[in-house]
């Protein structure tokens, strides 16, 4: 239980940190920020890799989680990079 309290603390602090960090973003970067953040939410891949493997059902669930998180990670970062490379100042 102590662990949860500690991690709950980390959770709250990170949310506040995020709100402070991102509060002023120029509208030009709204889409790349959203898409970049979306790629970060692919961190679920780490969670998927931590799953246990007891029986066929668990294997299927783990495979699905890894597959979809990977699509999120690779697709998210690549599309963000493609988008950002278009923003140019002449």
């Amino acid at each position: 239980m102590e662990m949860y309290v500690l991690l709950g603390f980390v959770l709250l602090l990170s949310i506040f940190l995020g709100l402070e960090l991102i509060s002023k973003v120029p509208s030009t970067l709204h889409t790349p920020l959203m898409s970049g953040a979306n790629a970060i939410s692919g961190i679920a891949l780490v969670g998927a890799l931590m799953l246990s493997s007891a029986g066929q059902m668990q294997d299927i669930l783990a495979f699905g989680a890894i597959l979809f998180a990977s699509i999120n990670v690779f697709g998210g970062y690549l599309v963000t990079n493609r988008m950002l490379s278009m923003f140019k100042k002449k």
């Binding site: 959770l11 990170s14 120029p26 709204h30 059902m57 979809f68 998180a69 990670v73 278009m86």
Partner: protein, 463 residues
């Protein structure tokens, strides 16, 4: 045993390191000069976090390789092939997959023996948020790519909306279920019912929301996928999941608030009420005549203008007119005219939609201005060209108190000396409000496809 403990320590140190990199990365992503580096940094953080997790695996390595390689291939293909105009639905789709991953993680965790009460609650919450993010994003994808036309009012939509409301008591039931054992008769397979209901609920959540409100919905779903990941982190006692998930949750929340403010509406109003029930303004009757204009006349006026403001909207995206718009802008500049682009935060279907399209067409980003920047000097603008935008330039928002969009910050093009409105027909905008701008003394309507109309002006300039 000691070896295992050592591995855990190393893993946690690397997790903290990648958390810091994620924080710096997302911070850099918020500034034009550092955005590209920020994205690389966060990708590197992801790589470290994933690689170090692989030091202690329970799952068969073949399953992992198959999943990562296949997922990586599909994701990369989509990312490389997608047209820039399809970005909004792409982001929605990727977001949905992230939600699905957390949904499956929590499901797998549910199957574990001896979960504590607290873990049980976390499992259910993660499933709920992840599931709603998944199907909600799929519906957003369908709506944005115009494959799904169902909206508010249809029977199917109403059925799904009732699933959404049913899912809330269901969530409460599954959360307290373990403590009910012996008190009430057990519902067989309640968990499967909950899974299905959650997925249905996501559909019912997004389906009634209209296209013009999509910037808010996409940002919110983005935020939810982060929160789901953070909850999964709590469940698995993993700090990098918590930090990265919270950052995404926070950034999505900020965008949601920015979008809602730009419409002067509350988030609940956008999600659960919509425009239809905000009451109709009765006053906009005395409309008068519209003054149509041809491309030739428009060219003559533009040729003599010394300052031009282009205000794009969703119509520009539909007509794919961004490239001709850039061409016209360059020709005008060559003619000695000062050209600026006025971008409203909610123009288009996602936050920053117009900025992406114009960037794709090679418009320099320092020419793009926000409403606060262009409104004070609007009366010095010779010609404001409105391309497929409607509600974001509707003067009712500042002048007509009864109007459903009253109070929404707009780009006040009606104060410019002349306004060109490029439009296909006289239909009203997403909000369903008639736009008095079209009937103003200084407004000229250029009817037709925006791409063709501007193409003709460009051709005249070249002659």
């Amino acid at each position: 045993m000691e070896n295992l403990a050592n591995i855990q320590v190393i893993q946690n140190i690397i997790y903290i390191m990648s958390s810091v990199m994620f924080i710096l990365g997302i911070k850099m992503l918020g500034k034009e000069a550092t955005a590209v580096k920020g994205n690389y940094l966060s990708a590197l953080a992801m790589f470290f976090a994933v690689a170090i997790t692989c030091l202690s695996l329970e799952i068969d390595i073949k399953i992992i390789l198959a999943g990562v390689l296949l997922g990586g291939l599909i994701g990369s293909l989509i990312a490389v092939k997608v047209k820039m105009t399809a970005i909004p639905e792409m982001v929605a789709l990727f977001n949905g997959f992230g939600g699905l991953a957390t949904f499956l993680i929590a499901w797998s965790q549910f199957n574990e023996p001896d979960n504590s009460m607290f873990q049980h609650v976390l499992v259910m919450l993660t499933i709920y948020i992840g599931g709603i993010t998944f199907t909600g994003s799929l519906i957003a994808y369908g709506k944005l790519s115009e494959k799904l036309k169902l909206g508010k009012g249809s029977i199917i939509t109403n059925v799904f909306i009732s699933f959404f409301y049913l899912s809330m008591p269901a969530l409460i039931y599954v959360v307290i279920e373990p403590s009910l054992i012996g008190l009430v008769p057990q519902l067989p397979s309640y968990f499967v019912i909950f899974l299905v209901l959650t997925l249905m609920a996501g559909i019912g959540f997004v389906m009634p929301i209209g296209g013009g409100d999509m910037p808010v919905v996409i940002s919110l779903l983005n935020s939810l996928s982060g929160i789901a990941a953070a909850f999964a982190g709590l469940l698995l006692l993993n700090n990098v999941l918590i930090v990265a998930g919270s950052l995404v949750g926070a950034s999505g929340l900020i965008l949601t608030i920015i979008m809602a403010k730009a419409m002067n509406r509350t988030i609940t109003n956008i999600l659960f009420v919509g425009y239809a029930s905000s009451g109709h303004a009765a006053s906009s009757e005395e409309q008068g005549e519209v003054k149509p204009i041809t491309s030739d006349d428009a060219y003559l006026i533009l040729e003599n203008a010394s300052s031009v403001l282009v205000v794009p909207g969703y119509g520009m995206a539909v007509a794919q007119a961004q490239h001709v718009v850039r061409e016209m802008g360059e020709l005008l500049e060559g003619n000695g005219t000062e050209v600026k682009y006025g971008i409203h935060p909610v123009a288009g279907r996602m936050p920053g939609h117009m900025n992406v399209l114009l960037a794709e067409a090679n418009v320099s980003y320092d020419l793009l201005a926000e409403p606060e920047d262009v409104n004070p000097s609007m009366d010095t603008i010779d010609v404001a060209i409105v391309i497929g935008a409607n509600d974001v330039v509707n003067p009712s928002a500042t002048e007509e108190e009864g109007s459903p969009i009253y109070g929404m910050p707009i780009i006040e093009v009606h104060n410019a000396k002349t306004v060109f409105v490029l439009k296909r027909s006289m239909s009203s905008g997403f909000a369903g409000v008639q736009n008095p701008l079209f009937f103003r003394e200084n407004t000229r309507m250029l009817f037709g496809d925006a791409k063709e109309s501007i193409g003709q002006i460009v051709a005249e300039f070249k002659d």
